[in-house]
């Protein structure tokens, strides 16, 4: 049995039952699926695993749902006049004609632009990926109460949607960017989170799984989807190498490039090529371009920084952000020297969230040091250490400043 079998089965069952019974019953559906999985745990060891496990789980959860909807006290009011069989499919968001795949359809439903992204993420992790509340809280580094709040907000919104109905045909193209954004965010949570390495891989894998689901369907097979897949596979290739055997974070130039996953790299590059077919250029294209340059560089010294700068310029055009400009400045410093790096940031007033982050302070500390401004470098250095989000990052920064070796700044932020 695949390691995530129960989680993924849960996602598929919830999606399918929601299509059949309507999103307004999402909670009852989740309870029924939970009951079916529990029944499997209790029955399968005694009677042996059924030949078709999904069919077994579907039958049991379907029956549990019918029982619950017929007799459930909580929902008696809603259903006093209609049996579930008589609930027409048209009450559901009508994606069925366009998206035969229920899971994909549910993904589009979860990525509701009227919800805060945090809620979209939470409901996707719950319904599509089958994570429990505690597991979501652990992976997103928020309190369980916050997860409950986000889920409850999402459920309310989805119920409202269900009662209004929403036109899949008209909404599909409009919603794809939002779906990509949520998948990207999911991946970023996993990839950039420096706090719980064992858990991040889960989020990255789930993001890749959902993106493949999207790419495999005519409705989602779009250059932007391919670019996002390229980006995620390319980063994924380097994920394990970012950590030493003893669990320390490694700088880019410290990483053993032989530990990069060549097959992931190849898949990423193939998607990058596919993403170039067509005239779309998204932020994912630019970010995948940067990841590809790092992935293709035979060594840190041989990185083609000029191409990376060009990608950052493109990224800045499609998705302007001071964070991207900060990264760009690091690449500029690698090519033209630290003064040019500092000059690239001149006049850029970072928003509070970025100025208060260790990243901003760490990059400036480095640039100032290399420009021969020891006092300013020290100030920034101390700020970076103070703002480090975890001991692992603090260790990395301390090591970074001790080494004080020029021309390595990109390593800090990759």
């Amino acid at each position: 049995m695949e390691a995530a079998y129960f989680r993924h089965a849960s996602g598929e069952l919830v999606s399918t039952l929601c299509r059949r019974f309507g999103l307004q019953h999402l909670e009852a559906v989740e309870d029924a699926v939970q009951a079916a999985l529990l029944a499997a745990v209790e029955t399968w060891p005694r009677q042996g695993e059924p030949d078709d496990q999904m069919a077994w789980l579907y039958r049991v959860s379907h029956r549990a749902l019918l029982d619950e909807l017929r007799t459930g006290h909580r929902r008696r009011r809603i259903l006093s006049e209609q049996w579930p069989e008589s609930v027409p499919d048209t009450l559901d968001p009508r994606l069925a004609g366009e998206l035969r795949d229920d899971l994909l359809r549910m993904l589009f439903v979860c990525c509701d632009p009227e919800l805060p992204v945090a809620s979209q993420l939470a409901i996707a992790l719950k319904t599509l990926c089958g994570f429990g509340v505690r597991e979501i809280a652990l992976r997103l580094f928020v309190a369980e109460t916050a997860v409950y709040k986000r889920l409850s907000r999402a459920r309310t919104q989805l119920r409202a949607r269900a009662s209004k109905g929403f036109d899949a045909i008209a909404d599909l193209d409009a919603r794809r960017p939002q779906v990509l954004r949520v998948i990207h965010q999911l991946f970023t949570e996993g990839h950039l989170s420096l706090r719980a390495p064992a858990l991040r891989r889960d989020l990255c894998d789930e993001a890749i799984r959902l993106a493949h689901l999207l790419a495999d369907h005519p409705a989602g097979a779009h250059p932007d989807t391919f670019a996002l897949l390229a980006l995620m596979h390319l980063h994924s290739a380097r994920l394990d190498a970012r950590m030493s055997a003893s669990g320390e974070l490694l700088l880019l130039e410290e990483q053993d490039r032989r530990r990069w996953d060549a097959s992931q790299m190849q898949i990423g590059l193939a998607f990058l090529a596919r993403s170039a077919e067509g005239d779309s250029f998204s932020r994912y294209h630019a970010e995948a371009g940067i990841a590809a340059e790092h992935g293709l560089a035979p060594s840190f010294e041989e990185t083609r920084w000029d191409r990376i700068i060009a990608c950052y310029d493109q990224l800045e055009r499609v998705a302007p952000s001071p964070l991207h400009r900060l990264h760009r400045a690091v690449a500029v410093a690698a090519v033209e020297g630290p003064e040019a790096g500092l000059a690239a940031l001149e006049g850029d007033v970072p928003p509070t969230w970025l100025e208060g982050s260790y990243l901003w302070a760490a990059v400036l500390a480095d640039l100032h040091r290399r420009c021969g401004h020891p006092r300013r470098a020290r100030e920034r250095h101390e700020a970076a250490l103070r703002l480090a989000p975890s001991p692992a990052v603090r260790d990395l920064l301390a090591r970074r400043f001790e080494r004080a070796d020029p021309d390595e700044d990109e390593a800090l932020v990759r």
């Binding site: 390691a3 079998y5 129960f6 989680r7 089958g130």
Partner: protein, 114 residues
Amino acid sequence: MPKFLCVQRSLPASDERSAPSPSEMQAMYAKFNAWREEFSDQLVDLGGKLGDGRLVTEEPVTDGPFVEIKELVGGYMIVEAADLDGAIEVARGCPGLVSARSGVEVIEIQTPGG
């Protein structure tokens, strides 16, 4: 070899939102299978869950003092072991059987001359 009846007794489930997640259930499933494998020679009958029941006596039937019995008895199984301690070892190893809210009664099944 003597056989033992194991009866699970648990406190009524609390209403807290502590339902296991799919991953946790899969882990339970894996543990249960591992346990079953380890003691396969001794597991005579894995039994099952017990549902509603009623005590039948000469007296008119009421739910009477045994009303709580359906909440307390969760399931049963039959194991084989050299002695009570051996049977307890098998039962104790069963995942989820012995916990803060659940315990197991291990009773020897006496057979004449056995």
